[in-house]
Structure formats: structure tokens, C-alpha cells
Amino acid sequence: MGISVEGANKSFGDFQALDDVSIEVPDGSLTALLGPSGSGKSTLLRAIAGLEELDTGRVVIDGEDVSTKPTQKREVGFVFQHYAAFKHMTVYENVGFGLKIRKWKKDKIRERVDELLNLVQLPGLADRYPSQLSGGQRQRMALARALAVQPQVLLLDEPFGALDAKVRKDLRTWLRNLHEEMNVTTIFVTHDQEEAMDVAGQLVVMNQGRVEQSGTANDLYEKPANEFVMSFVGEVNQLGDSYVRPHDIEIVGDKDENTEEAMVQRIVALGFEIRVELVLADGNEVWAQLTRQELQRLELREGQIAYLRPVHAKSFNGSPPPNSPGASTPPGSTDGGDAEITAAA
């Protein structure tokens, strides 16, 4: 069931949470809404669920305009960051809630809930209360509850945001596998670019209520539409007017017309990766990512002068016009008018 949002606007008082947002989510995909806090990603998700009413614009699910449909008729599964578990109900009653509302027979409910608890790897915990579960278990229960009613689409609002790092990583992999198995169109909101790239096939980057760019993780990383996307999806250095990734900075011994002079300020060994912090002649700081072997070959020392050669530097002409690239452009066609400067070797 594909989802599309067309020209969505939403304000809370003076704050414009959504500014003419349009997105296209293909049937069966797993899409991440990625952006910093206040970028409007949660508002957009809640608008798709009907938990937030749009000022203007449309929400279309499976070809049907659902903009005026109340939440309970939209058949969406929604998972909240803080689980929203029904605290006075057991795990069994939580997962079976939607089925009970739909007046399923008791033995049918029992069957379906057991099936789901197996799916989310919580068998045997049916009689526990949410307060007796860990955060990860609670979130899996919430997911089972959302899936119980066989929703057309699954919406997850920072689902792993309240969990610790280890549990987060496990759940990510698990969610990806679950999506492959169930094949329900899924949108999930996150502010963590690594999480988005790890889990989702398609990403929509949002900032200040607008869509900056959408595409695959590779598209965004290789062909960012503007400096916001470039700096949000991965690390970035600014060299004059252009931007370059830390692993795209070559350090060379001799200067030529494509190099910049810099002083090595600090060398930090982070296991396999080496982080070299440098100061440019104009006082700006940059850092380069090297491997252990490269560092040994270059024989860099703190305090010495080195020459930097940026490879794949990008410059964006001025700030991007509002919702220029990205908005409803299909993945892979996001050039955004950036010029690529590749240093001649």
C-alpha cells in the first residue's frame, strides 16, 4: 500500500512544523524520515496516522485520500517512542486490544496473539504486565500490538529512541528482517543517520519542516543535494566554498596547485581508523580519516606541516531554494545542481 503526502502544511502557533511537504513512499518499502529534532518528521508521521490534522495538503494511502478520515478508520499500525503500553493490561490484553475492539472471537484472538508473541520473540510472557518487561521487550510488545490488526501501513516514531545502544542495534537488525518477512509498507522516524542507513531502503531527509532530499542511502551520501544533507548524512569538512568528507582528504608530502597547506594538530588513534586534526592557513580546522597503514606510510607527527588534497569535494551554489531537490523526486535522480570538483591527480 503506497503512501503519498501532497503539499502538507502544518503550524503550531508561530512554529511552522511542515512547510509544503510532499513525499512518495512506494508499496512494500521501508522508508526512514531522517532529520534533527524540530525538523517536522514526527509531525509528518503523525499526520499520516491522522493523529495530527494538516492545515492544508493531502494524505493518500493506497490511492485513497484519507485526509478527512479519523485515525481509527485509517488502518495504520503506530509505534510510539515511549511504547504507550496499556499499563493496566497484561501483554496478552495489550496485543489483543485491537482485535477485541474488532469483536474477534476469544479463541481467534488467543491464536493470533500467540502467533504474534512468537513473531516478536516474547513467547511465554503473555501474562506479564508492561512494568515487568524491559524497554526492548515493551517495544516489541507495542510492535506486536500494532501488527495484530494487520494494518495497511506501519508507522514507527523513533521506535528505538528510548533504548540503550546495544538493544538498539539488535532491534534494528530484527526490524529489517521482520519487514522482509511481513512486507508491510513501513515508515520510521529517526534522528540517527546510521540507524536510518542501516535499516531503511529509502531515506527522506527533513530540515526545518521541509524535505531536503530523498533517495537511497548511497544517493544521499554520494550526491547530497545541499550542504545540510551532506553534513547530516555523514561527516563533513569545509574547505573554502566546498565541502569534503574526511576520508576524501588525501595527505601528501609535496605541495602543488591542488593542495592546501595545513598543520597537523592532533593524531587520534581510534582502532583501525586514525583521525588527523589539522589547522588550515586561514585558521579553520578540518580533520582527515586515514587508515593505520596510511599513517605509517606518511610518518605524520603532531606539529608538522602537511599538504591536503581534497578528492570529491562538493560546492553548492548558495543556499538551496526551499524544497528544491528531493521533494517527490524519485530515488537516484537527485543531482540538485551541485558541481563536483575532482582534483586532478
Partner: protein, 271 residues
């Protein structure tokens, strides 16, 4: 080290003695004395006073008032709390302030204001007289007075709980297909039930013991418009001490039952 431990122990005992002493002298002693005086000459005199026709009538009238006023204030209290917490509106602070009025105003003043409304030359008097409905000096007036003084309890206990549970559980229920009514009965009400129950207990205690407002509007007619607190006062004034003490002990026992119910609820809430 040692001296600080001792200091700690001394100050702890000091506080304990002070606190318990205060309660003992000001709260417990009068009650014990009341029980002692009541049963000084055996069970018969207070029993006779309570089971006299006036005594039984007072008890019945008090219980009737509780049975009508408490459910009404509970339903109103829950609706009002939902309005205050879930439907943000500019005028909410006015509602909030008005609900607190019965806490701030003396019950006698409340009784007088009802008098002005329903009494001779009162606003509502002509219409009511035409319909043959008597409010003052009869049961409806007593119930109205009790409702007035006990309005705030359920609201005050429910609002903080509603704020604390937030809206996410309700929204989750909505996404699962529940309509407003189903969400309220299956999710909201179970989540706030201990807060509401606590408010109901406090409301009941207040209605049981209300004296000032009722004494103004009821006329205090024995066997007709006399609640238990009024019965106590009348017997006391008439030097019928066994009657006064007997009814007083009965009131105290009813209140104790209510308070015990409250403590049970508290314990249940904690677990």
C-alpha cells in the same frame, strides 16, 4: 562519628515524640474521650438514641444524601477533569478557579447563597413554587448543599493523574481502531481509576459530615430534614448527651470506614 550517630538518634526520637504527641493530644484524646463518654453507662442509652425514629431517620437521610451527591459529583468530576486536561481552551482557568470556590468559601455562606436562590423572593422561587417543588427545608435542598460543598474533590484528585498518564495510550488505542467512547472506558478510565476512587472517598467523607451549609437550608426539623451531624447538634443543645454521643460515634465510625477504604486504595495503588 559516634556522637553524630547519637545526635541523629536523639533528633529522630525528638521529632517522633513531637509528631505523635501532637496527634495524641489534639486528635486521638478527644476521640477516645468521646467513645468513653458514650459508653460510660453501657451500650443501651446510645443505642436507644440512635434507633429512635428521629435517629434512624437522620441516618437514612445522611446515607441518601451520600448516595445521590457522590455519584453525581463523580461523573461531573471526571467529565470536568477531561475538559480541563484534554481540551485546552483559553477559558479553562476560569473553570479551574470556580471549581475551587467551595474549598475557599465557608459552608455557611454557601448555605445562605442557596437560600437566596431558592428561598422566598429567590430567583428560582416563582417557577419552582408553580411546579410544586420544594427545595428549602426539604431533602432536595440538603442534597444541593452537599453537592455544592463536595464538588472539588474528584476533580482535584483526577486532574493530576490525567496529566501524568499523558495522551499516548489514548492515541495508541485510536490507532488500534477504538472510538472515543471505547478509548475512555478501556484505556483512560482504568488508567485514572485510583485517582478517581481517592476523590470519591474524600467526597463521601465530606458529604457525611457536612454541617454548616446543610444547617442553613434544611431548617433542622427532627424526623424530617435532620441529617446525622444536625441530629448530634440538636441532642447536644437539648442536653440529651447519650443521644448526641451515640450519633457522634456512629458518624465517626462511618468516617473511619471511609478512611480505611482510602488507605486500602492507597496500598493497592502503590502495588
Amino acid at each position: 562519628m559516634n556522637s553524630s550517630v547519637n545526635d541523629n538518634r536523639t533528633s529522630r526520637w525528638g521529632l517522633r515524640v513531637l509528631g505523635l504527641g501532637y496527634i495524641a493530644v489534639l486528635l486521638v484524646a478527644p476521640l477516645i474521650l468521646l467513645f468513653y463518654k458514650t459508653f460510660e453507662e453501657g451500650l443501651a442509652p446510645p443505642w436507644e438514641a440512635i434507633t429512635s425514629s428521629d435517629g434512624l431517620h437522620a441516618l437514612k437521610l445522611t446515607l441518601l444524601t451520600v448516595v445521590i451527591a457522590v455519584p453525581l459529583n463523580t461523573v461531573f468530576g471526571v467529565i470536568c477533569s477531561l475538559l480541563l486536561v484534554r481540551h485546552k481552551w483559553k477559558g479553562n482557568w476560569v473553570i479551574d478557579a470556580v471549581i475551587n470556590l467551595p474549598f475557599a468559601i465557608s459552608p455557611v455562606v454557601i448555605g445562605l447563597s442557596l437560600f437566596l436562590l431558592y428561598g422566598k423572593q429567590g430567583w428560582f422561587e416563582p417557577g419552582l413554587a408553580e411546579a410544586g417543588i420544594k427545595i428549602l427545608f426539604s431533602t432536595p435542598g440538603i442534597i444541593l448543599a452537599c453537592i455544592f460543598v463536595s464538588v472539588p474533590f474528584v476533580v482535584r484528585e483526577t486532574v493530576p493523574v490525567l496529566q501524568e498518564i499523558g495522551t499516548e495510550q489514548e492515541q495508541a488505542a485510536e490507532t488500534l481502531g477504538a472510538n472515543g467512547w471505547q478509548t475512555f472506558w478501556r484505556v483512560t478510565l482504568p488508567a485514572i481509576r485510583w485517582g478517581v476512587a481517592y476523590g470519591v472517598v474524600l467526597c463521601t467523607a465530606r458529604v457525611l459530615g457536612e454541617f454548616g451549609a446543610v444547617s442553613v437550608v434544611s431548617g433542622n426539623i427532627s424526623g424530617e430534614t435532620q441529617t446525622l451531624p444536625l441530629f448530634v447538634e440538636k441532642n447536644y443543645e437539648n442536653f440529651n448527651l447519650p443521644g448526641a454521643f451515640g450519633a457522634a460515634v456512629l458518624l465517626a465510625l462511618l468516617a473511619l470506614v471511609v478512611l480505611m477504604a482510602m488507605n486500602l486504595l492507597k496500598r493497592k495503588e502503590a502495588s
